[in-house]
Amino acid sequence: MPDEVSPHPSRRTVVAGGLTVGVAVAAGTYLSAAGAETASAADATRSLSLIVNGERLKLAVDPRSSLLDTLRDEVGVTGPKKGCNQGACGACTVLLDGRRVLSCLTFAVLHDGQEVTTVEGLADGDRLHPVQQAFMDHDAFQCGFCTSGQIMSAVALLEEQPGITEDRIPEAMSGNLCRCAAYCNIRDAIASASDTMAKGR
């Protein structure tokens, strides 16, 4: 990557054909819209090591692949969902080295060696994470498509702000859309999980 380009280019600008950053990246790693001369680059894969839900994986990925697409298409972890692919819905939320990120907005190849936790990695065997259990018991979903992202955001929120007061939850969870609008139950579930986790501490 040339220095003048952000070390974290948006995946969208690159995949969209490089009009914005195309000149800058044409010489290097990423694909430009210029066609033939980058054809070999486009067909190439990059090796990547990720720790996904505790398992160390060696992958060969298309360098344009988002972390989300890599998880879903290469690793086969389909809990994280693609609702908008532009960071607006939160359905793709995962933990990256313990911090919540929108996996659709970042390239997989930028995270070599890092640790990813998805909703599949929360339970301890058959024992669900308190947030998962609370989402079940409070019926904090309908179709369930946003649920993985809601749960990952909630898990991170309760890590960041243990004992968060109930009235702060709606604002903190507003980055995760739920079109079925199970919002009342989502905040009840998170408040309840927060209590459970406080008792466990």
Partner: protein, 744 residues
């Protein structure tokens, strides 16, 4: 009668967790886009960037040369479509890639298939298209002068687009003779369904048979269309709809991308996955069209309606006639001796519209319930009292009495819980902490659209039961519903009931649309479960080795996986023991359900909303909402409450923020993204109290329950708009109610 506030702990009504809940919180729930098949290729559709004209030239050279690309298909290729859209039941009046003409922005112009997703996305960007651009008619306002009564192929079941009741009445004269009149025009913009799951399909051919994993609200309906389009017998097409990530109407029909993916899979001889981008969802899977509605009410001074006139014009696509049924429930709402409704359409360069949660009724109720509120102010009468005085016990549309209607009780209960009596009538008369406070209300009615349903229930020798029906789980709790009804009917504990659904290999039932699942599929399951239990009882009472031998069938009951004597519960045996003596064979029963037609069947509701508005920065905040629904017996109080709250939030979105805006020149939606098309987020949502009348309606359906997915959204926008009027004195008649409409 009082509402039952107590919730049963087990059986029908129990607030049990969803049967698929664990899958949904652990990430193992499977949706269409999660399907991965061996050698699966990835497809991307290329869509038009103009809204009117034709493709002069489409050059696929660069795309075909790009790495990993397997094929690029355009209108220049021979498409395999058979017959005509009308004969196949395909929603659009033109098959995808059928010709070079473009009638809307986002129309599919090519499908690119590559080995991986990134390759297909990249190659799609390399398809060069040269357009011949025609003048576009992008907005309803522009098209309005040419409005007409639909006369082409109608895309939904017939409903009267023009009606005068009683026939021969003179509505204009009735209006002229009324003591008090209102005359207002209401507008709703393009609304989008925005399920969180974008349309997705995985197509695979094997020996001339097509397997289509598709997010579908109706697998059998999809199969019929797909088979007809490809000229195949239906049994050569299998449609599987795993869990559906929200639908709200935009997955009721087969869309072009599913046909294209199926065709592409045959071309490349590999399974093909196609997932629409979020932007494409806005143009590829329908929307609710904009509608202009004029309502005129005439009433006597005592508050009894003399006449209702309701005229609508909605935008429709260039190639099809789809009137939005905003007038469909007007006749069934209030006791007006004279009624006239009329629906027209006007052609615009926008893609096809389709049913959106509570089609017709949601936008129609915004207009009618706003108009009733206006009339209440003209009369100086409480809006709730006005509704009481115009209550209907018989449906004027059909002339039949309703199977059950507890709307007045719903109104009383809601008013009490909400504290409606605290409302002072004068607009701007209630303030708290510097904010304007407004109370509004509206009622809701949604007529049922009958359908047939079928299900199969099996009681097995291992003590379990299985229910099989081709219903889909779109988030409404369908799987849990059929499991609970099976458990109740057979006496097999819920935890031992399994469900198979979402597959054309299973019995065809009503699509999960039009609030049909609970009433129709639920009834078929109820009948099948009863039939299975009765068959097992018959086996027991005729089996000399059974402790129940010799009893009359009616003396035997079932619970906890066991059949027993009604009056001596110790006398009995388990299904397991009974079936073990009969070669371990299961008892299988299938049932079909067709509703009776002696009564009109509808669901009802009453909404009460509190809004708070800063007078200087008039952003509307809904701070409280109380709703009471009359939908028969509740099958699962937990899921029902959730669905009701969700429907109310849906209505909040329409009322306050949702809007798709066509660019007035190009016809391109300027806000086709979740960053611009705003739907409610967690912090937008107040406490929502939901109550149910919870009285079985066994005239409507044998198990006494009716579907509620739509009625819960009906009336919400009006209730909010009426509260905004009460708070501010401003009557906003065009949705959404954004701050700019309240400034100044």
């Amino acid at each position: 009668m009082t509402s039952r506030t107590e919730v049963p702990e087990s059986g029908i009504g129990a607030p049990v967790n969803r049967v698929e809940a664990r899958d949904k919180v652990t990430g193992s729930a499977r949706y269409t886009a999660d399907v991965r098949l061996r050698d699966m290729a990835h497809a991307t559709v290329v869509t038009s960037t103009i809204s009117a004209g034709r493709v002069r030239r489409i050059d696929t050279t660069r795309a075909l040369a790009a790495p990993g690309v397997l094929t690029v298909i355009t209108h220049r290729d021979r498409m395999p479509w058979r017959s005509t859209p009308a004969d196949t039941g395909y929603l659009e009046n033109r098959f995808p890639l059928a010709d070079d003409k473009i009638t809307y922005y986002g129309q599919h112009l090519a499908i690119v298939v590559a080995k991986n997703l990134e390759q297909s996305l990249h190659a799609a960007s390399l398809v060069d298209i040269d357009y011949e651009v025609d003048a576009s008619v992008p907005t309803l306002d522009e098209a309005m002068p040419d409005a007409y009564t639909a006369n082409g192929r109608l895309i939904r079941p017939p409903w009267p687009q023009h009606l005068v009741l009683p026939p021969g009445a003179d509505p204009q004269a009735a209006l002229a003779g009324a003591d008090v009149r209102t005359d207002s025009t209401y507008r709703v913009p393009h609304f989008s369904h925005v399920p969180l799951e974008p349309g997705a399909v995985v197509a695979e051919w094997s020996g001339g048979t097509l397997t289509l994993h598709d997010c579908s609200q109706d697998v059998h309906g999809h199969r019929e269309v797909v088979a007809a389009v490809f000229g195949l017998p239906p049994e050569r097409v299998r449609v599987l709809s795993p869990l559906v990530g929200g639908a709200f109407g935009n997955k009721t029909d087969v869309w072009g991308h599913s046909l294209l993916a199926a065709h592409a899979a045959r071309v490349v001889r590999r399974p093909v996955k196609l997932v629409l981008s979020r932007k494409q969802v806005f143009t590829s899977t329908g929307h609710q069209p904009p509608i202009v509605q004029r309502i005129r009410l005439g009433a006597g001074r005592e508050g009894r309606l003399a006449v209702i006139l309701h005229d609508t014009v909605n935008a429709t696509e260039m190639r099809g006639d789809r009137p939005e049924p905003a007038i469909i429930s007007t006749a069934s709402s209030y006791a007006a001796p004279v009624l006239a409704v009329d629906a027209k359409i006007a052609k615009v360069n926008i893609g096809p519209s389709i049913s959106l949660r509570s089609p017709g009724d949601a936008p129609g109720s915004f207009a009618l319930e706003s108009a009733m509120d206006e009339l209440s102010y003209r009369l100086g009468m409480d809006p709730l009292e006005l509704r009481r005085r115009n209550h209907l016990n018989t449906d004027p549309l059909t002339g039949k009495p309703w199977s059950a209607k507890h709307l007045l009780q719903a109104c009383e209960l809601g008013a009490e819980r909400f504290g409606w009596a605290r409302r002072t009538a004068e607009p701007r008369s209630m303030r708290e902490g510097g904010e304007l406070v407004g109370y509004g209300m509206a009622t809701a009615v949604r007529g049922e659209i009958p359908d047939r349903a079928r299900a199969e229930v099996e009681i097995r020798a291992d003590g379990t039961a299985q229910v099989r029906t081709a219903t889909q789980e779109i988030g409404t709790g369908a799987l849990t519903l059929v499991a609970q009804i099976t458990a109740a009917g057979t006496g097999v504990p819920l935890g031992r009931v399994s469900v198979r659904a979402g597959d054309t290999n299973l019995p065809r039932t009503a699509g999960n649309a039009g609030s049909r699942t609970t009433g129709y599929t639920g009834s078929a399951v109820h009948l099948a479960a009863e039939k299975a239990r009765r068959a097992a009882v018959r086996m027991a009472v005729t089996d000399p080795d059974s402790p129940l031998y010799g009893l009359a069938d009616g003396e035997v009951e079932a619970a906890d996986g066991r059949l027993f004597h009604r009056d001596d519960t110790k006398r009995g045996e388990t299904y397991r023991a009974l079936l073990a003596r009969h070669d371990g064979k299961p008892v299988v029963a299938e049932a079909s359900y067709t509703p009776r037609t002696s009564h009109a069947v509808a669901t009802f509701g009453a909404h009460f909303t509190e809004v708070r508005i800063d007078p200087d920065l008039p952003r509307v905040r809904v701070t409280r909402h109380v709703a009471v629904f009359d939908v028969g017996r509740i099958t699962n109080h937990k899921a029902a409450r959730n669905q009701a709250q969700g429907g109310i939030v849906f209505g909040m979105g329409w009322a306050l923020m949702e809007k798709l805006t066509p660019d007035p020149v190009s016809g391109r939606y300027v806000d086709a993204a979740l960053t611009d098309y705003h739907i409610p987020v967690n912090a937008d949502v107040p406490d929502i109290e939901v109550l149910f009348i919870d009285e079985p309606d066994t005239i409507a359906h044998p198990h006494g329950s009716k579907g509620m997915g739509e009625v819960v959204s009906v009336g919400v926008a009006a209730s909010i708009a009426n509260a905004v009027h009460h708070a501010t004195g401003r009557r906003i008649t065009d949705l959404p109610i954004t701050p700019d409409k309240l400034v100044g």
